[in-house]
Symmetry: D2
Subunit: 121 residues, 4 copies
Amino acid sequence: MTTTEAAGLPVSGHEAAPAHTDGDHGHGVHGYHKQKDEHLKRLRRIEGQIRGLQRMVDEDVYCIDILTQVSASTKALQSFALQLLEEHLRHCVADAAVKGGDEIDAKVEEATKAIARMMRT
Amino acid sequence: MTTTEAAGLPVSGHEAAPAHTDGDHGHGVHGYHKQKDEHLKRLRRIEGQIRGLQRMVDEDVYCIDILTQVSASTKALQSFALQLLEEHLRHCVADAAVKGGDEIDAKVEEATKAIARMMRT
Amino acid sequence: MTTTEAAGLPVSGHEAAPAHTDGDHGHGVHGYHKQKDEHLKRLRRIEGQIRGLQRMVDEDVYCIDILTQVSASTKALQSFALQLLEEHLRHCVADAAVKGGDEIDAKVEEATKAIARMMRT
Amino acid sequence: MTTTEAAGLPVSGHEAAPAHTDGDHGHGVHGYHKQKDEHLKRLRRIEGQIRGLQRMVDEDVYCIDILTQVSASTKALQSFALQLLEEHLRHCVADAAVKGGDEIDAKVEEATKAIARMMRT
């Protein structure tokens, strides 16, 4: 159990986490596990946007309007990634720091590379 | 039907298209119309990637591996947008230039704003 | 001298330019030529931001505040690029379309590749 | 002194830090302090690229070639930001995790917002 949970703080910087957030911690599941339902909802919404894009192409909607919708879907994917990353920093990376040893260096390097990939798209 | 289609060539945004690609203009069909199937195939592939992300979240895959997949989907969306944009420039924008008058200014401004939205995501 | 300049209007990429901006074409000057001073002013401002970043690092300013300034400089560079691109589309690309032939295809492909490079950074 | 330093590990995921890296730690200076010289060198190089852009505009270089140079400068700024961020995560964020309490939540949220700003440019 992390000090964070001991302090009973919301686990997401963006909104209060569900009441039972700490429920399955300690089983070695990743930080984002606690917000699984929220993540799945977000992803289903994005899946719907992609299907909407298929309809737009199929109905010969004006190019620029399709591009606007593509930008919206990309933004939604990026914000999903940011939330996942925040939970990762708050749990996996912070835990590695608490554990001590050199795991923190590997974790930070790994996270930075993931951020670089996100920035380059 | 354009010479391009007659020749059965891919009109991929990334290889030069034959000189006169304006065969079916005036029918008010947008440039991307001719590559509808290719676009729909791309979008179905992206839809599959988003469903793959749902499975990954559902199966508690490691955060960083999910982020890698999100970057791949974002890249795929961006490259779809780029191909759509290239066809838009090649057809709608070029046609406005040929027509003359100030439509070209509106078209270029509209395209630039779409590019700005794509860059900001 | 173009009507635009005669009218003393900014040919800013972000407001519609007057109908016929092609006054001085054929002199082989690139579209952005007419806004050289504005571009140089923008770039000098960005150069100042980069020197500001050096001062921040030198004075051990907090990492996050430096990152905020880096984002501002990147945004400024991107918006300079967008204005340059808009003028390029309005002049070089539009001219190729008017000339006819397959130059337009090469110009559009070249512009799309430049946009892709801008998006990937 | 952090466990990381105790373990005598390189402080940067990208290259071994200079021999004296730990020299001035403990004075409460930020992580990046140890790589000040490297950061200043990077920023001076970027400043030179921006001056190069001014020359290109002044000499009426072809728009697309200027855009290529803008992309290179943006990439250089982004990679400077990534290195700064990595050091921030490795020091400020990891230290907050070790200290315990709720500071880690504020630090992670602050870092995530900085990453979001970097991604949106």
